[in-house]
Every structure is written in C-alpha cells, then in structure tokens.
Symmetry: C2
Subunit: 203 residues, 2 copies
C-alpha cells in the first residue's frame, strides 16, 4: 500500500513524445489555472501546446481524461512531498486534519485549477478508471500516511486503516465539490472536515 507507481514519469514513448505530452499537460494547467473547467478548451490546449487537435486526442482521448490525468500528476506530487516530511500532530486525527488543511491551502491558492480538476474527476465515467485509480490511491496514501505519524517505520498499514482513509477521502471529495461549485465557503468546508475527522477518528 505504498505510493502509486503509475506511468507518471513516463516510461512510454520517444523523447519527442514525452516532450509533447508535457507541453499538453502544461498548457492544460495554465488554461485551467486562469479560467477553470470551461477555459480548458481542446482547441485552445492544442494551440497552446503547439500540437494538432488530432494529436491531442491521440494522447488524451477526451477532455475528461486530460484533466483527470493532470489531477493524478498533481496528487502524486503531493503524496510524494507528503512522504518526505514528518506530519505534525499528536494524534491521527490531528495529523489528518493538518494534512487536509495543507492540501486545502494549496487548492485555495488556485481555485480555478481546482475547480477544473475536481469537476472532471466527478464527471469521469468508467473509461477513465485507470486515471481515477491513480488519484484514489494517492489520496488514500496521503491519509494513511498522516494517520501513522509520518514515521515510515511506524507500524503496518492495516485494511482497517485503508477503510478509514477511504471514508475520510469520500467526505473530503464531497466537501471539495461543494466548495468548488460555490455551494459552501472555505471556512464551512474546513469546519465540516474537522467534524468528520473527529467523528471518524475519535482520538
């Protein structure tokens, strides 16, 4: 149950292809950051990445695949950074809340980007299962890592831990959607998460 090992640091394809793929994802980020989901238009991505529209579709078979792939890269980066540090907090609940707040801070700094990626994730169907799985694994990994104090040798991660982490991840996703779609404020979201973690991880 370690960090996902997907093809983020791409094994596949020639150097030129890896370069194209990177340009596409970079263009996606930039458009999403400035204008959110609606601004990530396939023609605009293609133009900014300097590839033809057909090529873009060869690399990512839909807009949803594209955005969820971007989300996966971001989550894996976050999970990687997470694993490099000690998580502050005396109890699992404190540490999980610390991590969730840390991620929330990052997301609030780029609300449009977050909106684009989250809505794509929520809209994805089974054809995006592989990319979705990457995200789910990274999220579970982040939470379980926080539950165990960030000290890698600190005991095994049990099935129970994973189940708990999934539940927390679910609540987090729902809260994220509510925030992203403007149905709740950042403060309400934070309070809601705090409540949920206290319910689930009674210290």
């Amino acid at each position: 149950m370690t960090i996902a090992n997907s093809s983020t640091s791409d094994d596949l394809g020639s150097a030129a292809q890896r370069e194209r793929r990177k340009r596409i994802l970079d263009a996606t980020y930039e458009l999403a950051r400035s204008g959110g989901f609606d601004a990530v238009q396939m023609r605009a991505v293609a133009e900014q990445a300097d590839v033809a529209l057909g090529t873009l579709y060869r690399y990512f078979p839909s807009k949803i695949h594209l955005l969820v792939s971007a989300l996966g890269r971001q989550f894996e980066d976050a999970a990687g950074r997470m694993h490099e540090k000690e998580i502050p907090g005396d109890t699992p609940g404190d540490r999980v809340l610390w991590v969730l707040k840390w991620m929330a801070r990052g997301m609030q700094g780029d609300p449009k980007l977050t909106e684009a990626l989250t809505r794509a994730f929520m809209f994805a169907d089974s054809s995006v299962a592989a990319e979705i799985h990457v995200v789910g694994m990274a999220m579970t990994s982040i939470v379980t890592h926080a539950m165990h104090g960030g000290t890698p040798e600190d005991g095994e991660i049990t099935d129970e831990d994973v189940a708990i982490a999934r539940v927390i991840g679910d609540v987090w996703l729902s809260a994220l959607v509510a925030w992203v779609t403007g149905r709740s404020t950042a403060a309400e979201t934070a309070a809601h998460m705090e409540k949920a973690v206290h319910l689930i991880l009674r210290d």
Copy 2:
C-alpha cells in the same frame, strides 16, 4: 428540521403550465431511465414532452437544472415515504443502514436513471443552488429520521445529528458516484457504506 417544503406540488403557474412542467419531467425520467445522462438530450426531451425547445429552456434554464430538479422530486418523494413508516432496526446505525439499503435498492433498479441524476448533481454549480438545496435537505432529513427510530416524537433532532447526517450523506454521495461511474460494484458500495456507518455511528 422537517421535510423540505419546496415547490414540488407546484403552486406556481396555470394548469396548462403545471401540465407542461409535468410532461417535461416525465419525458426527462423516461429518457434518463432508458439511456442515462447522454440520452437526456434537450431536443429529445422537448419533442417527447411536446413543447418547443425554447419553452423547455424557459422552464429549466439548463440540462443540469432539469436533471437536478428531477432528482429533487425523487428525493422528496423518497423522504415523504420514509416518514410514513417505522424504520426497522434497534440502533441508529442499523436503521440508517436499513434506509441506505432501501434507497440503494431503488437506485439499482434504475441504474441509468440514477447515473443521469447523480452526474448532473455532481456537475451542478452555484447557479443550481436552490435545486441542490432541496436534494441536500431531503437527504439529511432521511438520515436523521432514520437515526431517530422513525417515531416522530422521539426526541429533538440536534445540530450534532445534522452534522452526522451530513457526513454520512457525503460518504453516500461519493460511493454513489463510484458505483454510477462503474468504478465499484453494488456489493462493494454496500460494504463501504456499512463500514462508514459503523465508524461514524458507533452503536
């Protein structure tokens, strides 16, 4: 904190307008039931409801509004039926699980319909806040009603109860999305909900 009182049994408009609105929602259900989200095409809804496309857009300003309104009607119906019966089960956890399974059974009977309504709900932004609120209230009402054994006089519903119900609702939504998008089976979803309810409502 009783059942939502929105304009489901429509106060607004003439008889002909209520009739049109009903035809539109019926057409929406039928198309969703047979083909899911993608089959609910605005031109098809208009044709099947025997109204002009412009009229459909006058009643529901977007496809998302239309589907979320349909979901709201369904949830209010479910909440209403819920409140008429005693919920079996000795503990809050048992009763909540019973209710969730009862709703899951209904949704599994119409998977395409569920897919259409759920995806619309997840995709809705703040312009759909009113319709979303109807759904959220109905869901919270269903869960709190189950927590208190279905006997209406059985104590007040506290803020704490509502907070708990919201968390359960969040997990349920995430699980629903996973099921609807084919990322988890009905059995996995049920097991996951059971785990979550046991964590949140320790009996």
